[in-house]
């Protein structure tokens, strides 16, 4: 036989017991040709184009799931950041566009469509200001639309006016969706150094340098890595790194194969495989559990950042060896609400926002899905976003903030969204204020690291 018994059983164990699934196949669609001076015609073009390319997305993904016996958790669509093609429109029009996106997403049977986005790291166009103003209504009046805004980059610095506008938008979104635990904020990401080919919603969009249509895939697999670490036993850290690399290599190869096959069925080019370890609230499918298995008592203990740095680096090394199409975020995600181990650590008070901030300096993304008291001020949220972005521009990496100022809730309470979004305990935020710094406005200049030529 071409394969060893143990090899075949290993694959089946991964898919059947260790929650190995492909997290997302995301179809990126350019909407740059959909603009018209008439908003009604524009909406029709958007609807028709997404329907045309996306109508078989779910069906194709299901067929590939059956063929390889590995499930694909999410089938999603990302689009050109809408502020770019539709820059001529005003706030109300952008809300209308969001509703059109929501409708077509429902029609093609997907749960989220991402790309209600703008890139304003250096400054705003008129349309971008209008689009950002439209975000709270767009997110509260739709179910499936996700929004992201990039407010800083190593090359441009941090647009502090955009930071303030986004913290206002987050507060407003929390208020407008207060009946549902401020769920609108779970669909809104503020980025620094955003990648243009990220398949993971809510931060996905179809970047301006991408082709007409592309299919990107995001793998998952914390459960598989966790089991590999547990069965490795008491080995030293170099050996542990080997164990992680071998496992991630295999899941990356499987992920790329599945992505390529779905792209083949669509007849569209395959883009990238994002090798991020993405947790879910399911037991065992947790980054926190991996860190604990590595030897820290709980997330937040001294040593957590070092363990996470090593994990993240091993994931990247293995992914780069396994595929020549690695892109997107490609690291380890540490969302609080979507990871049972992180939720527990936050409830026990082991994990604070400050420790999380340090952890985000060594892994992908940033302060993700954290709930804070509803009375946290817009300026304080702006300060948190600015800190996270500073880590991004100085370290030349992507950072993001997806924060939920849970309307009417205090520390000790929780917000509960169910499903993949999970449960978030409201975490305490420093009461010290930086209003004077935030309200200066303007732009934090690009760091010396931007001068690489």
């Amino acid at each position: 036989m071409n394969y060893e018994f143990t090899e075949i059983l290993e694959t089946i164990k991964m898919t059947e017991i260790e929650h190995f699934d492909i997290r997302t196949v995301t179809l990126g669609i350019s909407l740059r040709d959909c603009v018209d001076r008439n908003i009604e015609i524009t909406k029709e073009r958007i609807y028709d184009k997404i329907l045309k390319y996306g109508k078989n997305h779910v069906k194709y993904a299901r067929e590939i799931e059956h063929k390889y016996g590995i499930s694909i958790a999410n089938k999603r669509v990302s689009i050109t950041p809408i502020s770019i093609p539709f820059d001529r429109f005003a706030e109300d029009d952008f809300v209308e566009i969001a509703k059109t996106l929501d409708k077509v997403a429902e029609e093609i049977g997907i749960d989220y469509i991402a790309g209600f986005s703008a890139l304003v790291q250096k400054g705003f166009t008129n349309g971008e200001r209008e689009m950002i103003k439209a975000i709270p209504r767009a997110l509260s009046e739709t179910k499936r639309v996700c929004s992201s805004v990039n407010i800083g980059s190593t090359k441009a610095g941090i647009n502090m006016d955009a930071v303030k506008m986004m913290s206002d938008a987050i507060k407003k979104t929390a208020e407008l969706t207060k009946d549902r635990d401020s769920i609108g904020c779970a669909k809104l990401v503020v980025f620094c150094n955003v990648p243009e080919d990220n398949p993971f919603v809510a931060g996905a969009f179809h970047g301006v340098s991408e082709p007409e249509i592309v299919l990107n895939v995001g793998i998952s697999g914390p459960g598989v890595v966790l089991d590999a670490i547990k069965s490795a036993g008491n080995v030293d850290l170099q050996q542990l790194s080997e164990v992680i690399k071998k496992t991630v290599f295999k899941i990356t190869r499987a992920g790329e194969l599945m992505g390529r096959k779905v792209a083949e069925m669509h007849g569209v080019p395959f883009g990238i495989v994002d090798i991020s370890l993405a947790p879910t609230p399911a037991p065992g499918d947790s980054i926190a559990d991996i860190l604990k298995a590595m030897g820290v008592e709980d997330v937040g203990a001294p040593g957590t950042t070092a363990a996470l740095a090593m994990l993240n680096d091993a994931v990247k090394k293995a992914g780069l060896m396994a595929s020549s199409s690695v892109g997107g975020m490609s690291g380890a995600f540490i969302p609080v609400s979507e990871d049972q181990g992180m939720i527990d650590a936050a409830i026990k008070g082991h994990l604070t926002i400050e420790k999380l901030e340090a952890m985000t300096a060594v892994c992908s993304v940033g302060l993700d899905m954290i709930a804070v008291p509803g009375d946290t001020t817009s300026e304080t949220i702006a300060g948190i976003i600015a800190d996270e972005s500073a880590i991004g521009i100085i370290n030349d990496k992507t950072t993001a903030v997806r924060i939920i100022p849970a309307h009417g809730k205090k520390v000790g309470e929780t917000v509960n969204y169910g499903g993949l979004l999970g449960v978030a305990p409201v975490m305490p935020v420093s009461k010290l204020r930086s209003d004077a710094f935030i309200l200066r406005g303007g732009r934090i200049p690009a760091p010396t690291r931007s001068l690489t030529n």
Partner: protein
């Protein structure tokens, strides 16, 4: 099928070309409307997306009982699937069998074969997993 604006434009141009001298706005409009209605009433063109063929790995687990191998192999034979390799072992009283099966000769698609095998699995009270060979090749071979 809903026509896109480009398709309607192409339709209009071809109508104008065919009418030549006789093309008046009304005549063109009438023809385009009629053909658009006809096209839109047609169902969507569905390209054949079946991707079967090649080899699959069939893995079966269960309590050791008489007739398990016979039932599975008979089932595969009925579907014109060719067993290329078979390997089995007992692991702590559990019967484990792995087969490499060529399904190119079968008239059935992979999902139909899976459905048939699931029926057999239920009858025999065993678990049967069927996965395309490519996944093992990618994961375990560089």
């Amino acid at each position: 099928m809903r026509l896109t604006e480009e398709e309607i434009r192409a339709l209009t141009l071809s109508a104008m070309e065919q009418l030549g001298e006789r093309a008046t706005p009304e005549a063109v409009k009438k023809i385009v409307a009629a053909s658009a209605a006809e096209l839109e009433s047609k169902p969507d063109f569905e390209k054949s997306t079946k991707s079967s063929g090649g080899r699959i790995i069939l893995t079966s687990f269960g309590m050791n009982a008489p007739g398990v191998v016979a039932a599975i192999t008979t089932g595969l034979a009925k579907l014109s699937c060719n067993i290329e390799d078979i390997s089995q072992t007992l692991m702590g009283g559990y019967f484990t069998m792995i087969m490499v099966v060529d399904i190119s000769g079968s008239a059935k698609e992979l999902d139909e074969i899976q459905t048939e095998m699931n029926k057999i699995a239920e009858e025999l009270k065993v678990k049967i997993y069927i996965q395309h060979e490519e996944i093992f090749n990618k994961m375990h071979r560089i």
